[in-house]
């Protein structure tokens, strides 16, 4: 590659980074703007302030935001955990055993993954009200499984298929017990796939908005995206823009940290499941 050509690829790379980070940088900048700065028509604040962050962590804003943050973490982590455990067994069966239901299970996972979420919301809204699950954690965890379980099965079985399972037998030949062979050989090989799947499933649950606004009504279970989406309506005389921006930055931090730490695995997980030659 010539020097000139090299430079062009670097320019293209820089453009991609700008593309990816620009809106994020904008919302961060917005979150540091003082009320007087909000409408200055400029990208950056003239005088950075942390008022907006104080607004979401203390006082009335804190009463709205902090429970929502707790709900989001709790509900998403539990939904991720449940779907990973269920998917682990299913993916093991799909990758390792020979049984006729394989295709049906993968097909069902695909069908559930493309299912329009709102079609599930309508009947659940009515049912949850009748059986007392409306506005509770389980009332969101159960429908979240429809988001996290299919992708978990799909991604994990793609990972499991690449595990060299013969190594388990090799270890047994070398004198390891079945349990030792499983624990010392298979678990370390399978763990990265399970972990990556958990991250992707968590992203999807964290991103949910429709279930969050439809199946909750108070801070008892309302997750952050729903609280954010409905916040504009709850404003009194103050422009809520800065406060929304600050809350948006806070919910973005966990996913950005996960991306920076595990980017290589996430890419493998996203593409493994869908395209493999």
């Amino acid at each position: 590659m010539s020097r000139k050509e090299k430079n062009w690829w670097i320019v293209a790379g820089v453009l991609i980074v700008i593309y990816a980070l620009f809106p994020v940088a904008w919302i961060v900048s917005l979150s540091f703007k003082a009320p007087s700065d909000l409408t200055n028509g400029q990208f950056l604040p003239t005088d950075a302030t942390s008022e907006n962050y104080k607004g979401i962590f203390t006082g009335a804003g804190g009463d709205l935001f902090l429970p929502a943050l707790r709900n989001s973490f709790g509900i998403c982590l539990i939904a991720t955990l449940i779907s990973c455990i269920l998917a682990m067994f299913a993916a093991y069966a799909i990758a390792r055993l020979d049984f006729p239901g394989k295709k049906f299970i993968l097909g069902t996972a695909l069908a559930v993954a493309i299912f329009p979420v709102i079609s599930i919301v309508t009947p659940l809204f009515n049912l949850w009200r009748n059986i007392g699950l409306y506005d509770t954690w389980p009332g969101l965890i159960i429908p979240y499984l429809s988001l996290t379980l299919p992708i978990s099965i799909w991604t994990m079985s793609a990972f499991f298929r690449e595990i060299p399972w013969e190594m388990e037998q090799a270890a047994q030949v070398d004198g390891a017990t079945t349990w030792q062979a499983f624990r010392k050989v298979i678990v370390p090989l399978a763990a990265p796939g399970v972990f990556t799947t958990a991250i992707i499933a968590f992203f999807i649950a964290w991103n949910d908005f429709i279930y969050g606004i439809s199946l909750t009504s108070t801070s008892a279970s309302r997750p952050v995206p729903a609280a954010l989406g409905l916040f504009s309506g709850a404003s009194q005389f103050e422009d809520p823009t800065g406060v929304i921006a600050a809350a948006a930055v806070i919910v973005t931090i966990p996913v950005v940290v996960l991306v920076l730490l595990f980017q290589r695995r996430i890419v493998a997980g996203l593409t493994n499941g869908a395209v493999k030659g």
Partner: protein, 320 residues
């Protein structure tokens, strides 16, 4: 302990092992398979099949939660009401518009991104990969707010930055008209979901045999010819899978519209219409009917892709 009754590889088992044991083994393997995968399958069916059946049932009733006593069977008349109402057709039009525009733009843009990432020097590749995952990971509501605030008259900078373009001035109200509002919705959706498409395309790009590229180069094919005759045909499976997934995902568009316009100025998508009927107006019967119709459209699109365009998902994931 190790009497080694197991053959070294399972594939040679049928040749040496007696018939009875093989079928016993196969049967117990089948049983174990269902035992392990069964719970996951059951949960998936419970959280989707049951609600959609309930929605089909509810859609046959005149049923609103503000007046639950007067619930009455009314056959298909909810569907008749919806299909003869312009609201439904506007929402279909809006949804199709957003789907077609975003998927088309994302395919081109995603291809460019994938191309740069494939060619980029290995030293900056991790940086690009991390950068491109950020829009994927940022939640849709946050992305919608970021773009909304950027285009808004009061808090935005877009009008100021692009004021030199014809038709844009300091008081251009992007959310005041149908087309301009849909434009902003599309921009936000494209920003957020192009990375996903480009990652799928990048994986597809890696499968194009390097030898073919070299051979075409030696034969004097131009860059454009190589792209059209070598790269694209070899990536067909990856492209179709990416388009199928994104089309069905785009067809569910809801979050951005909720945040940006709340369906005002004829920008309501089908999902938003179903939400408004059910959650805001408490019309369980009508809302269910919209949900069922949306479900049928999605199934139709998937069937069209899989039968019509011959997207073989099993083949695409290397199963055969």
């Amino acid at each position: 302990m190790s009497t080694t009754t197991l053959p070294p590889t399972e594939k040679s088992a049928p040749v040496s092992a007696p018939k009875g044991t093989t079928s016993d083994r196969a049967r117990s393997e089948r049983k174990l398979g269902w035992l392990l995968a069964g719970p996951a399958l059951l949960v998936m069916l419970l959280v989707t099949a049951y609600p959609i059946l309930q929605a089909v049932y509810d859609s046959l009733f005149d049923y609103r939660l503000t007046d639950p006593e007067n619930r009455a069977f009314n056959g298909l008349s909810n569907y008749l009401v919806i299909l003869t109402d312009s609201t439904w057709w506007i929402s279909i039009g809006v949804t199709v518009f957003i789907t077609v525009v975003t998927v088309a733009v994302e395919l081109v843009l995603g291809f460019a991104l994938a191309f740069v990432m494939a060619k980029a020097l290995s030293s900056i590749r991790p940086v690009l990969r991390a950068a491109i995952l950020i829009p994927y990971a940022v939640i849709t509501v946050v992305s919608a707010f970021a773009w909304k605030f950027a285009f808004a008259i009061d808090t935005g900078f877009v009008n100021k930055w692009f004021g030199w373009l014809p038709g844009i001035s300091g008081d251009t109200d992007w959310f005041g008209g149908q087309w301009s509002a849909l434009f902003v919705v599309c921009v936000a959706e494209i920003w957020k979901t192009t990375p996903f498409i480009s990652l799928l395309l990048l994986a597809g790009l890696a499968q194009v045999p390097e030898v073919l590229q070299e051979a075409a180069k030696v034969d004097g094919a131009t860059w454009w010819q190589r792209l059209r005759k070598v790269t694209l045909p070899n990536m067909k499976a990856a492209i179709m899978v990416a388009v199928l997934f994104r089309t069905l995902d785009a067809f569910r568009v809801f979050d951005s519209i909720f945040v940006m316009t709340a369906g005002a100025n004829r920008t309501e998508s089908v999902s938003f219409l179903a939400y408004r009927q059910t959650i805001s107006r408490l019309e369980i019967g009508l809302g269910s009917a919209v949900s069922v119709l949306l479900f049928l459209v999605v199934v139709g699109i998937a069937a069209l892709f899989i039968k019509g365009f011959k997207v073989d998902l099993a083949q695409a994931r290397g199963e055969g």
